[in-house]
Every structure is written in structure tokens, then in C-alpha cells.
């Protein structure tokens, strides 16, 4: 999927080159593809329509800058418009208000309210807060048990909802308890409900009236289709929405619902649920989801960065060396320096689809890739010219010298050389396969 739309766009927009300006006529096809991509990602039909019109309005008449290709120009406009709707920066809950800060969770059945309540409580606890979670879902069997269990797992206080209690009463009593116990955040989980279920919506209004929450958060499943617009509109009109949480973003849904909901409510999307573990809740980055919805991935910016760092002559030389097996440690060092010019390794790796996940798994505790690169560079610097040209020269005693010279160990030098040989083989194979192979590999990740 990644890069798919971008490829298509550049194909289409090639024809624009030399025209000087983008016109309604020459971007027609490109707009069509953007539209298709957004609809495929489940963005609502009318939201797409408005979006396409906005892009068209901005794009038509634009001069194609000499430095940019029409594709880049067009994609820039699309991205900017998309980011505009998505709100640009990541939003954060303001918890500095007079405690307790009250947060009401609502949404359809199965959107992930109870799990998100637990995750959010854990997150707030980590920030030094003392949250109270309140099970007020008296509809679904065992929903109260579920939240109680989850609260126990993450180690936060949970209001002891008894069977047969009514949601408004739970809200009242829980608030009183939070005051008594000095809790600074109160998270109220409510029953999943359809916006057309008037009785349950009335109950939710009543609960909200009692709680007078600082944040009323709508929990939305990232896989939601066109209905996201109806849901968001109804909840907004009937209850009011201060913010949104997108759940199940760890799947492969493109998440167009985020765009629909955002367009309808204008409320910020605060968090993204990205897994089954209680820690799997992160701040929502609008720009990332924008790329995902568009079906482009960050490979685009990686390619951009790469094209800035390299010129064709260099690229040609390296490609030739890779193919003919002449790629030496000296070349390797040069490439590493090039890559470092492009930015830090961590963020570059993060742009490769799938790599970001792998990086995340390593976490902040793991070794820093940038430091690791420096060590490798130190090792190569400690080698003689002959060694750099032919890695096979490096026998035991030479390796020992390299280790000492670079402040590493022989084991590290061994492991580096082994990996160098392996990756050389891999790259040779891929270089021969051409870009198709690269694509295949990226998908494999």
C-alpha cells in the first residue's frame, strides 16, 4: 500500500510538467485518485467531496515552482489541506484544572471504551495523578467486572458499582467519593449506545449533567466506516464532544474515520489505542494519520530526504558497486555519513514502514542507533586503507587492533564484520532485482 497513491500521482502529474501552472484540467485525474484513496480509507463521502473541492480551489492556478515537480507541488497542497482538517499538532489534555478533573467516556458498543478507560487511567497514574475509574456501564453484562479487573491490573482506584445501580446515581456517588478520597482525576466509563437509542442518550445527558465533566471524550473504532459521521454528529448534537480517542489503530485499517470525525466535530483527537496491552495508548499524531489515510506512508519524506542528500552520479556509482560486489568498508562509511546528513538514524528508520514498530518495541531503554553508528564509524576509522578495501584481510590480530583503536571489543568487531558481509549480500541481491525488489521487501516488513 505504501507509496501507492504517490506513484499514481506522479504518473499522472508527469503530464503537467512544462505547463507552468496547475489547472483544473491537468489535475483532474490526480484529484480523482486522491478521492478514490480517501474513500477507500473510509473517509465519509461528503467529507471527501469538501476536501477535494478545497484542494482544487487551492491548486488551480498555482505556478509549478521550478525547484519542485508538479507532483511534489500537488502532494504538498493535499498534505497541507489534510493537516489543516486534522488539526496539525498533537493535542494534550489539560489536567492543571482544579481537581478533580472529570472525564466522561462515551461511544458505540464495542468501540473500546472500557479498555481505553483502563489505559488512560494507567497513563495518568504514570504522570503522578491519582485517578478514580467509575464503571457506569450498567447495560452490558459483566462490563462493571471488566473495569474493576482492569483497574486492579493497572493499580488504580475503582468505584465499587453495585449491581442494580442506575448510571446517574453511580455518577453522583462516585463524585462524592472522589472528593472524599482526594482523587485528582475521575474517569467515567459508560455503556456503549447507538445515537438513535433515545432512552440511552437521555441517560447519558443526565450523567453528563451530574458530572459536569471537563472532557467528554468520544471513543471511535479506527475501523469505522461511513457511519462515523452520523455517530459523531449525533453525539455532538445530543451530548457535546470535547475530544476523541481513536482505538484499534494497531490493525491495518486506514483510519479514515479520524478525518470524518474531525471534520464533523472539530474536536481534537487526543489519543490512539495501539494494542491490547494496557500500556498501548499513545498521543495521537494528526500528521501521521493523515499520511496513513492518504495511503502514502512516510517513505515519501524519506525519498525526499534521500534525493536531497544524493545526486544521480553518486547514486549510480554506489549502485554499480553494489551490483558488482565492489562495495567496500570505505564505501560503507561514506554511505553512513551521507545518511547521517539526512537526519538522525532513529527518525529515518521510523519512516520505513514497519521499522517504526520495530523501533518502538526496542523502546527508549535499548541501544541508540545513532550511537551504534558512531561506534561502527570508529571501527572503520581504526582500519588501514587496505583493510577497508578488503574486509577479508582482517584476521584475529588485526581485529584485536581495530577493537582497541576504536574502544570496542573484538566480539563487537566480529559481529559488525559478519553483518557487513550479510547486508552486502542482501543489498547486492536487491540492487539486482531493482526497485520492485525493494518494494517487495518493504512490504515484507
Amino acid at each position: 500500500m505504501f507509496g501507492n497513491l504517490e506513484d499514481k500521482l506522479s504518473e499522472i502529474l508527469k503530464k503537467v510538467r512544462g505547463h507552468g501552472t496547475l489547472s483544473e484540467d491537468n489535475i483532474k485525474e490526480a484529484l480523482r485518485d486522491v478521492r478514490l484513496s480517501l474513500l477507500e480509507a473510509d473517509v465519509h463521502f461528503t467529507v471527501v467531496k469538501d476536501f477535494i473541492n478545497a484542494v482544487k480551489e487551492r491548486a488551480v492556478g498555482q505556478e509549478v515552482k521550478a525547484s519542485l515537480t508538479p507532483t511534489q507541488d500537488f502532494i504538498r497542497i493535499v498534505s497541507e489541506e489534510l493537516t489543516k482538517i486534522m488539526g496539525g499538532r498533537a493535542a494534550e489534555l489539560d489536567l492543571k484544572k482544579k481537581p478533580p478533573v472529570i472525564i466522561l467516556m462515551m461511544g458505540l458498543q464495542g468501540s473500546g471504551k472500557t479498555t481505553t478507560t483502563g489505559k488512560l487511567a494507567l497513563r495518568l497514574k504514570g504522570q503522578g495523578k491519582k485517578p478514580l475509574v467509575v464503571p457506569a456501564d450498567v447495560q452490558r453484562p459483566a462490563a462493571i467486572d471488566q473495569l474493576k479487573t482492569v483497574a486492579g491490573q493497572v493499580g488504580v482506584d475503582c468505584y465499587d458499582t453495585k449491581p442494580g445501580m442506575k448510571a446517574p446515581d453511580i455518577a453522583k456517588l462516585a463524585l462524592a467519593q472522589a472528593d472524599r478520597q482526594g482523587q485528582d482525576v475521575v474517569l467515567v466509563d459508560t455503556a456503549g449506545r447507538l445515537a438513535i437509542d433515545l432512552e440511552l442518550m437521555e441517560e447519558l445527558r443526565e450523567v453528563k449533567g451530574i458530572l459536569n465533566p471537563h472532557y467528554t471524550l468520544l471513543v471511535v473504532d479506527a475501523m469505522t466506516g461511513q457511519d462515523a459521521v452520523n455517530v459523531a454528529t449525533e453525539f455532538k448534537n445530543q451530548i457535546g464532544i470535547d475530544g476523541v480517542v481513536m482505538t484499534k489503530l494497531d490493525g491495518d485499517a486506514r483510519g479514515g474515520a479520524a478525518l470524518s470525525v474531525r471534520a464533523v466535530t472539530g474536536a481534537p483527537i487526543y489519543f490512539a489505542g495501539i494494542g491490547e496491552k494496557m500500556e498501548a495508548l499513545e498521543v495521537f499524531y494528526p500528521d501521521r494519520i493523515a499520511q496513513r489515510i492518504l495511503g502514502m506512508g512516510d517513505v515519501m519524506s524519506l525519498i525526499e530526504k534521500t534525493s536531497q542528500a544524493y545526486d544521480v552520479k553518486q547514486a549510480k556509482a554506489v549502485a554499480k558497486k553494489l551490483k558488482t560486489d565492489e562495495f567496500t568498508l570505505e564505501d560503507f562509511k561514506e554511505q553512513m555519513q551521507m545518511i547521517r546528513k539526512m537526519g538522525d538514524m532513529k527518525s529515518l528508520l521510523g519512516m520505513i514502514p514497519g521499522m517504526g514498530q520495530a523501533m518502538k518495541k526496542l523502546g527508549n531503554s535499548g541501544p541508540d542507533p545513532d550511537k551504534e553508528m558512531k561506534r561502527i564509524e570508529a571501527m572503520i576509522n581504526s582500519m588501514t586503507k587496505a583493510e577497508r578495501a578488503d574486509a577479508d584481510l582482517l584476521n584475529g590480530s588485526r581485529r584485536k587492533r581495530v577493537a582497541e583503536g576504536s574502544g570496542t571489543t573484538v566480539a563487537e568487531v566480529n559481529s559488525f564484520l559478519k553483518r557487513f558481509k550479510e547486508s552486502k549480500k542482501m543489498m547486492k541481491r536487491l540492487a539486482k532485482m531493482g526497485p520492485g525488489g525493494l518494494r517487495g521487501m518493504m512490504r515484507g516488513f
Binding site: 501507492n4 467486572d145 525519498i303 542482501m426 521487501m441
Partner: protein
């Protein structure tokens, strides 16, 4: 993956990106030969083989082939068209035959907003031109009627009532998180118990907090046995035990709940395969039915869900839940079309009797209903 491998793999990929970039640039340069109008060359090429133009484009890069698994001639033909701007083609063809632009827009909006998906929508609309005469294409009522028929034809797949003669029939219920598996099982249990059948439930969702209690409450409501394990039990052992119990008690039906899982989680999909094997071990031929539960509010991702689950455990039928809301569940049209899976049940509420047999006429009627 350790950090070293990451660096090498990542670094390698970054290298390759620029190698690819270089090849692309080279290709682009090669095309417009001196003295030749580049526009013309591009246009000529576009008609023939776009792969020549763009080295990035390989077969697998064809835009989201929802139909890649289905080797149907018409489908792949449809897909080939999407490559060259399907709307352009569609417009040319349909308008050429006299289908009104306004009507196309209206129908497209209707189909897309019901989650049928833009590709399936286009395919359906395109199919109209073959089915209808020039005269009929000008008549909105005729066009709509034919469209309804076509959709009905896709979703109305014959599905025999669940056979309860396997002593016991084992029904495996699967799906992603939050679609309503446990609720559906509760309703199924109530329904078959009311019909006088003996039902055993297996509390196979040992992962989600209180999922077992939730199933127990449904079991109580329906008046049937629920087999559960100790806390954090292995789902396979719970299911094995439940089937044994169902056999011993000569139950008619054993319904196995499973934990919700995203189809992208490889290890959890493997676990599902294992559960299926265990069922067969406990009772030969089991599971006799693998029911995939889909949420009607889900969009195009449901297609991927169905495809992946089918591939993993051979799904035999679908349950479409939450149809009592404003969502139409149109995505099942694409799923029925592509994967040939019939819809067996629909869920229309939280009460014990809010489970119905799927009815294609009602479903299509709701799709075309004004909201």
C-alpha cells in the same frame, strides 16, 4: 530484532531507496529522446505499458485489489480498468449510453455511504450498462431496480440452516475486538435453547477481563451450561473440555467463544488455527461451522478481516451485528462477492431475541432506504 540488525536493515533500505531513485531518474531521462515531443511519448507509453515508465510499479502495486484472491474474469477485468482512471472510463461508457450524470452521482453516494466501497460501487454501476438497454438507462427507476437486483443477487447466497445432528455440532465464533462475539453467542444460545435444543457454551475468551462472566450471564439468561476454566486458562483446554462435556451430555450444539483479535496479529491468528485443531481432536469433524462476526459499522477493513480469517480458519458464514443503528453494513456486499461467504445471522439489538436470520430482501431494502 536487535539493534544491530535494525541498523543494517534500515541502512540497507535507505541505500536502496536512493538506488531506486537513481534508476527512476534514469528511466525518466531516457524517455524523451531528442527531437521527440515528450508529451507524445508519454501519452503513447501510457496507453501501452505504464510499467515501462515507472520502475516502482510492479504487479503487486496495483491499487488495493479487493479481489486479488478471487480469480474471476470479470473482477480482474474491472480492476484493470481502475488502473487507468476508472471514473473516466465509467463516465465515457455510461454517459455514452445515456446514463444521467446526476443519477450516477446519486447512486454512487448511496452505495458509498452505505459502506459498499467505491470499487464495488463502480463495478456495480459499470455492470448496469451491460444489463440495460439505452432506453432503460435513461429511466432512473429502471436503473435503481436493476441495481437492487444485482446487489440482492450477490448477497442472497444459499445457506442451509445450521445442522444440529453432529452430536454435538460445534460452532466456532471468531472476529476482531468489539464486534459482538459474546453477545451473538448469548443470543444464539437463547434461540436454540428455546427451540428445545441442548446447548453448551465454551468460555474461550480467556484474555479480556470479565469476558467469561459476560458469557456466564448470557448462559444463565438462556438457561444453558457454560464451561469455563480457571483464571487466565488456556483457551484450547477450555474448549476441549467444553466439547467433551457437550459429547457426554449429548448436547446438540456447542458454541465456542474466542478472544477478539485483530487479523493482523500473526501469533493470535496462529492461536486460532490451534484452537480449530483442538476442536477436531475433541470431536472429529469439528468445528462444523466457523462463524465470523462482523460489525456493521466497520468500513472497508471488514474485507481484509474476512479474507484473513477465512485464510486462517476457513470461515463458513458471517454474522453481521449492530444493524439496529444507522450503519448499513454495505461492506458485506463486497465480502459476499469476493469471498463467497454467506451471511447467516444479523444482530439488531442487545436483547436476547435480537438475532435474526439474514434476509437479502430486507438488507437490500435497508440499503436503498432514505435516511
Amino acid at each position: 530484532m536487535d539493534i544491530g540488525t535494525l541498523i543494517f536493515a534500515g541502512g540497507g533500505l535507505i541505500f536502496l531507496v536512493f538506488v531506486a531513485l537513481f534508476i527512476r531518474k534514469q528511466t525518466q531521462r531516457r524517455l524523451p529522446a531528442p527531437g521527440v515531443d515528450p508529451e507524445k511519448v508519454l501519452a503513447d507509453h501510457a496507453g501501452k505499458d505504464s510499467a515501462d515508465l515507472d520502475p516502482f510499479r510492479d504487479e503487486a502495486d496495483v491499487p488495493v485489489p479487493p479481489a486479488e484472491a478471487a480469480p474471476k474474469q470479470s473482477l480482474s477485468a474491472g480492476l484493470a480498468k481502475t488502473k487507468t482512471g476508472f471514473m473516466a472510463k465509467l463516465n465515457a461508457v455510461i454517459f455514452g449510453r445515456g446514463l444521467d450524470e446526476g443519477l450516477v452521482d446519486e447512486l454512487e453516494a448511496l452505495l458509498v455511504t452505505s459502506d459498499i466501497g467505491i470499487r464495488t460501487a463502480e463495478k456495480l454501476l459499470e455492470g448496469l450498462k451491460q444489463d440495460l438497454s439505452k432506453q432503460e438507462l435513461k429511466d432512473p427507476a429502471a436503473v435503481k431496480k436493476r441495481l437492487e437486483e444485482k446487489i440482492r443477487g450477490i448477497v442472497a447466497q444459499k445457506v442451509a440452516p445450521l445442522a444440529l445432528d453432529k452430536g454435538p455440532t460445534v460452532l466456532m465464533v471468531i472476529g476482531v475486538n468489539g464486534v459482538g462475539k459474546t453477545t451473538t453467542i448469548g443470543k444464539l444460545a437463547a434461540r436454540y435453547t428455546q427451540e428445545g435444543k441442548k446447548v453448551v457454551l465454551a468460555a474461550g475468551d480467556t484474555f479480556r477481563a470479565a469476558a467469561v462472566q459476560q458469557l456466564e450471564i448470557w448462559g444463565e439468561r438462556a438457561g444453558c451450561v457454560v464451561v469455563k476454566g480457571p483464571n487466565e486458562a488456556d483457551p484450547a483446554s477450555v474448549i476441549f473440555e467444553a466439547i467433551q462435556k457437550a459429547k457426554a451430555e449429548k448436547a446438540d450444539l456447542c458454541i465456542c467463544d474466542t478472544a477478539g483479535r485483530l487479523h493482523t496479529k500473526v501469533n493470535l491468528m496462529e492461536e486460532l488455527k490451534k484452537l480449530k485443531r483442538v476442536m477436531n481432536k475433541a470431536h472429529e469433524g469439528a468445528p462444523h461451522e466457523v462463524l465470523l462476526v462482523l460489525d456493521a459499522t466497520t468500513g472497508q477493513n471488514a474485507i481484509t478481516q474476512a479474507r484473513q480469517f477465512k485464510e486462517a480458519v476457513e470461515v463458513s458464514s458471517l454474522a453481521l451485528t449492530k444493524l439496529d443503528g444507522t450503519a448499513k453494513g454495505g461492506v458485506v456486499v463486497a465480502i459476499c462477492d469476493e469471498l463467497g461467504l454467506p451471511v447467516r445471522y444479523i444482530g439488531i439489538g442487545e436483547k436476547v431475541d435480537d438475532l435474526r436470520d439474514f434476509n437479502a430482501d430486507e438488507f437490500v431494502g435497508a440499503l436503498f432506504e432514505e435516511t
